[in-house]
Amino acid sequence: MSQPTGGRAGTNGEARDTDWDGVRLHVVSGKGGTGKTTVAAALALALAAGGRRVLLVEVEGRQGIAQAFDLPPLPYEERKIAVAPGGGDVYALAIDPEEAMLEYLEMFYGIKRVGKALTRMGVVDFATTIAPGLRDVLVTGKTSEAVRRRDKLGRRAYDAVVMDAPPTGRVARFLNVTQEVAGLARVGPIKNHADLVRGVFASPETAVHFVTLLEEMPVQETLDGIEELRSTGLPVGGVFVNMVRPAVLPEGVLQAAGEGRFDSAELALGLKAAGLTDGTADASAVAEALAREVTEHALRTELEKRERAALEQADVPRYDLPLLPDGADLAGLYELADALRAQCVA
């Protein structure tokens, strides 16, 4: 899967070819329930590995990052939340549209200390919840600012930024900010700002990844999402197949079970040999129950195979992330980060 895209290697980490060299903004989307936030967090750790600085941002006010890293709720402030394998830093920022708006007004218009008045008048409410697209411009604008930011010596503030983006169904619209604010601003400062932000998103320095499960709806939404991104001219990244279960049964057995031909007699003998059952009747009862589990597993595996084949149509790099037996706890995030690095994502 590794295909050097001819970008730079890490600025201060060891040099290694990865699939996304040159990409500085990783947008991670996915259908609800696919583990989008978990994958974004693991990707941030993987990208930071070996001494880089990575910023992980969230934009929907769900405090998903804090939950993933088992931290108290994050304020609107970039703060270090984790150390990556081999010494790199992951910073996090939960973007709050209201704060981002006040910051924007101050940065671009020098308008200060009017937060209270604006809030009282309902302007903040209007801008962040009602004005079409403005909320999205505010949060995407803050993200692209972090991507572009340099310190006094001209060095990048972050080697990469990972965004835990809105779900697949909304992501193209969310990133296509110019279109989003069209009703609000065809010319003028908001339009200019949106154009600038869109420029960052549409550049080869950005990749929009999708997280999916090998299930029908998430796969369909992923394919639709990729299509939509391509038609809006936004850069499609990879597909992360999450919660992949290891193959435990041989192909032949699965096929037989899928066709309802799984023989539980042999299983009953095996159970007896293992001393798990209490007499022949019990052995065959347990064997039959287990045989039904095998059949269900076979059907499920077949469906997964079909979904995998469907994903191939999209013609984008795919990466597998294992199902974590204990759920996505902190240790699990590091495990997933390792899996991403092993597959040359980072």
């Binding site: 769900r62 007004l105 601003a185 010319v187 042999e266 293992a274 597993h297 037996p325």
Partner: protein, 376 residues
């Protein structure tokens, strides 16, 4: 052992003629739409005249209910309904719903003015709360029409599952709020900038608005708001009506979740919020529960036996099946813990479980099966 949650008696809710509205809510990707459709179908087959209002259903699920396009009108679902019951289904078209409100309340000239306003066009198709607002508006319309004795609503896949409760209030607050007065003031004063007539605070805010969004957009917004203001009077009143409808005893909220940490946490949050708002909660539906079929054989024993067989180099297949089973037992235990957490925090909330299916639901038979599982 943690305490057991009371069982959610779905049929008792569906059969009670006083149940007029069922709202399915929960985080994204937990099977809300499928649950709503299955409840509607089951109600119809138990003799009720039901309508399912869905927002953004998956293609094949929509097809299962005979829905092929967004047309904003309930369509009869063929092959659903028995003993006098019937099922209708519709997909929400939020822009159409918004347009219809305008058309119904404004004289043709003013309606035209609003419908062609760029700000309105943008608001009605992209405001992140419009979908929620319009779902609630449609619910109100369906309820008032009294054509169906049960309405099952699927809530939009929002940023937060609570958005649909807040959106009407928020839009109402905006439309009745002070900002509107600032925005409408110049228009009322004859179109010239009348900001200077206002007090200093207003003037400052208006100044910022002009600076940031530009004069043309401000004018669009002003025209829109002025036209809308003349039409509605009290948007907030409308929002309050919807809110009261949701609080009424004939409404039953069904929180839908999957047995995973995030979904259960969201479910918990939702249950608390509904209690705060005094909204009638019927219970929790946990979808996609994995149930081992040989529960007497523990994960530990299965794994140990598999290792033992491997070491002896015999019954390779049995060893593999035992490992599969052990994985399934572990998953079930993890899911059980997630549900136990919920139940210890909310011991009185009734729970129904639906086992994970090997395949997605694509037809009425599948929905019927889910309905049976929900009720068993």
């Amino acid at each position: 052992m943690t305490r057991t949650a009371p069982a959610l008696d779905i049929d008792a809710i569906l059969d009670d003629p006083d149940t007029r509205i069922i709202v399915c809510c929960g985080s994204g990707g937990v099977g809300k739409t499928t649950t709503a459709a299955a409840l509607g179908l089951r109600a119809a087959e138990r003799g009720r005249s039901a309508v399912v209002l869905t927002v953004d259903p998956a293609r094949r699920l929509a097809q299962a209910m005979g829905l092929t396009e967004l047309d904003n009108t309930p369509r009869r679902v063929d092959g659903a309904g028995e003993s006098g019951g019937e099922l209708h289904a519709m997909m929400l078209d939020m822009k159409r719903t918004f347009d219809e409100i305008i058309e119904a309340h404004a004289d043709p000239e003013r309606a035209q003015q609003i419908l062609t306003n760029p700000f309105y066009q943008s608001l009605s198709s992209s405001f992140s709360g419009t979908q929620e607002y319009m779902a609630m508006e449609k619910l109100g319309q369906l309820r008032r029409s009294d054509e169906w004795d049960l309405i099952v609503v699927d809530t939009p896949p929002s940023r937060s599952a609570l958005d649909f409760l807040d959106a009407p209030e928020r839009l109402g607050r905006f439309l009745d709020g002070r900002l509107i007065r600032i925005l409408t003031a110049p228009a009322k004063a004859g179109g010239r900038s009348a900001f200077k007539l206002l007090n200093a605070g207003f003037g400052m805010v208006a100044g910022i608005l002009t600076k940031v969004i530009g004069a043309q957009v401000l004018k669009d917004i002003q025209m829109f708001v002025t036209a809308l203001d003349a039409v509605f009077g009290g948007f907030r009143q409308r929002a309050e009506q919807t809110y009261r409808l949701l609080q009424a005893p004939g409404t039953a909220f069904v929180v839908v979740a999957a047995p995973e940490r995030d979904a259960m946490r969201e479910a918990s949050y939702f249950v608390e919020r509904l209690a705060d708002e005094r909204m009638p909660l019927a219970g929790l539906v946990v979808n996609r529960v994995h149930r081992p079929l040989a529960p007497s054989l523990s994960a530990a024993r299965s794994s140990a036996a598999a290792e033992e067989l491997d070491a002896r180099g015999e019954h390779e297949l049995t060893a593999a099946v035992l490992r599969l089973h052990a994985g399934r037992m572990q998953l079930a235990a993890r899911e059980r813990r997630q549900q136990d957490h919920f139940t210890s925090a909310h011991p009185t909330v009734p729970v129904a479980q639906v086992p994970a299916m090997p395949e997605d639901v694509h037809d009425l038979a599948g929905l019927r099966q889910i309905g049976q599982l929900l009720a068993s």
